[in-house]
């Protein structure tokens, strides 16, 4: 009995470590080949650490295109999307969970439609609308569609959190003469802080990766986002892997570094979404 449980424990660890290896190896490989020349990548030294640390790859990746700018653009778009999604979702959730009216269950279901709609299905009509509103080629061209597509998930998460705030709080505020806005802004919103982080993470995952909208709605190279920039750069260095690796690393490491520092917080917020949603 004892032996077998020890054995199974060892097996479990082997499995866990193996899966960890599978997750880490591609990132390790990306990092090392970003510092090698083609000769090393293609034969001499495929998986080892680079023999000559070729930082010049990073200079080329930074020189063609504009990775820091793309990164900043992505960060701006993601931040604004998160803020707008959050504001709109909090208001809608307040109406859906607190305010009293007949069809709120139906409307909630209607919003949940958004969880299943594929983002690409709306590409041309959205393009036409944005064009009419004169918003193409601005950050708004991405922020607005991304917010709309993140809304369903945000409402789902916020509903879970908001239902847990006791109604007695509303009541006592109401007796104290608070208006609806007062209750919303002074009582509900401050108590929704945990939801902010959770919605933020889900929204980030939704909009950080998006390629198609970003490619079509933005034509000025100064406004390009990271996925478009990485895709373009890889097209330019098809056969010289070092700079591609450098570009991939530049696109990835800031997020990963942030993740390493905030991993506990990020995971907890993400998990809160699972429970509350």
């Amino acid at each position: 009995m004892r032996n077998s449980s020890k054995l199974s424990r060892v097996l479990i660890y082997i499995g866990l470590i193996f899966w960890m290896f599978i997750n880490l190896f591609p990132v390790y490989w990306m990092f090392t080949f970003s510092l090698k020349n083609n000769a090393e990548i293609f034969g001499d030294n495929v998986i080892g650490l680079p023999k000559h640390w070729l930082w010049s790859n990073y200079t080329s990746a930074l020189g063609t295109g504009n990775m820091p700018k793309y990164f900043l653009n992505s960060a701006i778009v993601a931040t604004a999307t998160i803020i707008i999604t959050l504001a709109v979702a909090l208001m809608a959730t307040f109406a859906l969970t607190r305010l009293i009216w007949k069809r709120r269950k139906t409307l909630n279901k209607f919003f949940m439609l958004g969880l299943t709609i594929p983002i690409h299905a709306s590409i041309v009509p959205v393009y036409v609308t944005l064009s009419k509103l004169n918003m193409l080629n601005t950050y708004w061209a991405l922020i607005i569609p991304y917010s709309a597509f993140s809304l369903a998930m945000a409402i789902l998460v916020c509903t879970g959190f908001m239902n847990e705030i006791p109604r007695e709080l509303d009541e006592s505020a109401c007796i104290d003469g608070c208006s609806v806005w007062g209750i919303f802004l002074r009582i509900i919103v401050p108590l929704m802080k945990p939801a902010v982080a959770t919605v933020g993470i889900y929204t980030f995952l939704q909009c950080w990766n998006e390629l198609m909208f970003a490619n079509i709605f933005i034509s000025e190279s100064a406004l390009r986002t990271l996925p478009v920039g990485v895709q373009a750069l890889s097209g330019q260095y098809t056969t010289n892997w070092g700079p591609i690796g450098a570009a991939l690393v530049l696109a990835t490491f800031p997020t990963l570094l942030l993740y390493i520092f905030l991993s506990r917080k990020i995971q907890e917020s993400f998990m809160a979404g699972a429970i509350k949603g």
């Binding site: 701006i76 950050y139 490619n215 079509i216 190279s221 098809t238």
Partner: protein, 416 residues
């Protein structure tokens, strides 16, 4: 967490406002969209031509935006479908033939006839044929290209050849010798089907002749021609004999070209825009056409090619006259620099010194001078839907999913 968000929000606002700022340099700005990205061989010509134009017109500024080839197709079509004049460029790069034709039919492109007046003698009418619709000129050719077969003469010499094989029998013998010596004759990028047409179309034209193929591409004749099936079988025989690098099917054109330039394959058949790069390679290079397959219908001096790249002007441009004049000026100059950089043949008659051209470019110019007939690339000549149907059959040929009969039967059924 809150602090980070606040900082990011502030940054966001600052940049949001900065993006709204007007360009206040008092110049008229013309937007130019093209595919001359930093890795594109056409880029220097674009930059030089723009510099020339701006020098001649100090009050005009050309804002060039370059996109990667495939995403550009998506982009320009989305802009044409839904964009207002704000979102469309003034001047845009386009492929001639049906690609531009769809935009012309929809009334999105400016007719350039009245602006061509001063240039009447600078460009032969035949070079404008692919951008002429209902008798009107809508495009400005920026270059002119044919499909050429480049050869690594150092590699051929190792197996006993001192010239590029000019008959099919010689080509086979040469390829067999290469294979026997453990070398790969050809590389062809399967990931980009247009690269496969660069092999298949020359074989077809050398089997059925340019007149017949031209009619088929234009939809005036049927695909149902047993000789096309034969041409396809020839191509597939070459694949099955191991003349093509098997890894090619998963690679893009840039990677296949790099293999040729690095001496991994002996031949590379592609557009003549590669001439400069091949000329710079470390080995001795030569250029030729694919040999004749059926001398009763075709001849050596026929090839696939034509002026397929052009500039056009959006009808929605706010500065129509200026943009139209600029487009013609730029087209002519891009063509000029492209020729001197050995990335394209001159669609416009050269009015400059060409004595410094690389030898390989001179050879191609000679081939063109001797040419008795040419057909534009199939996917450019056909309109979008049939062109993609055609490309999907071509891809199946390269993957040996269908044989010659299947190719002909399928295209006859789908395209007539």
């Amino acid at each position: 967490m809150k602090k980070i968000l606040c900082i990011l929000l502030a940054v966001c606002l600052v940049f949001g406002l900065a993006a709204c700022g007007k360009k206040g340099d008092g110049k008229t700005h013309l937007k130019l969209w093209c595919i001359a990205t930093e890795s594109d061989a056409n880029r220097p010509a674009y930059l030089d031509a723009i510099a020339d134009y701006e020098a001649a017109h100090p009050d005009v500024k050309i804002d060039m935006e370059a996109y990667e080839n495939e995403s550009y197709k998506t982009k320009i079509k989305a802009a044409m479908m839904g964009g207002s004049s704000e979102d469309l460029p003034d001047i845009f790069f386009t492929w001639s033939g049906a690609f531009l034709g769809d935009f012309v039919d929809a009334g999105k492109v400016q007719l350039l006839d009245s602006y061509y007046g001063p240039y009447a003698d600078a460009i032969p009418e035949v070079m404008l044929a692919n951008t002429t619709y209902n008798g009107g000129h809508y495009g400005v050719p920026t270059t002119f290209n044919i499909v050429a077969m480049y050869a690594n003469m150092d590699m051929l010499k190792e197996v006993g050849w001192d010239h590029v094989p000019e008959t099919y029998e010689d080509l086979i013998a040469c390829c067999d010798a290469l294979v026997a010596a453990g070398k790969i004759p050809f590389g062809c990028a399967g990931k980009e089907t247009w690269c496969v047409t660069e092999y298949l179309e020359p074989i077809i034209i050398k089997t059925i002749g340019y007149e017949a193929l031209g009619k088929i591409f234009k939809g005036e004749a049927t695909w149902n021609d047993p000789d096309i099936a034969k041409a396809v079988s020839t191509f597939q025989d070459m694949i099955n004999k191991g003349y093509f690098d098997p890894a090619g099917i998963a690679l893009g054109n840039d990677e296949v070209k790099a293999n040729f330039l690095a001496g991994k394959t002996a031949f590379y058949q592609n557009g003549s825009w590669n001439t400069g790069e091949v000329d710079d390679a470390s080995f001795k290079s030569a250029v030729a056409l694919f040999p004749v397959m059926n001398s009763s219908r075709s001849s050596y001096d026929q090839t696939i090619g034509g002026p397929s790249d052009a500039l056009a002007v959006c009808a929605s441009s706010k500065n129509l006259d200026l943009a139209s004049d600029a487009a013609i000026f730029l087209g002519k100059e891009i063509c000029h620099y492209n020729y001197l950089n050995a990335v394209g043949l001159p669609a416009w008659i050269p009015d400059y010194d060409t004595s410094s051209l690389p030898a390989l470019m001179v050879d191609i110019a000679d081939i063109v001078a001797k040419c008795e007939g040419m057909v534009l690339f199939g996917d450019t000549a056909m309109s979008a839907d049939p062109a993609n149907t055609y490309l999907s059959y071509v891809a199946q040929v390269y993957g040996c999913e269908i044989d010659g009969e299947g190719f002909v039967a399928g295209l006859t059924k789908d395209l007539g």
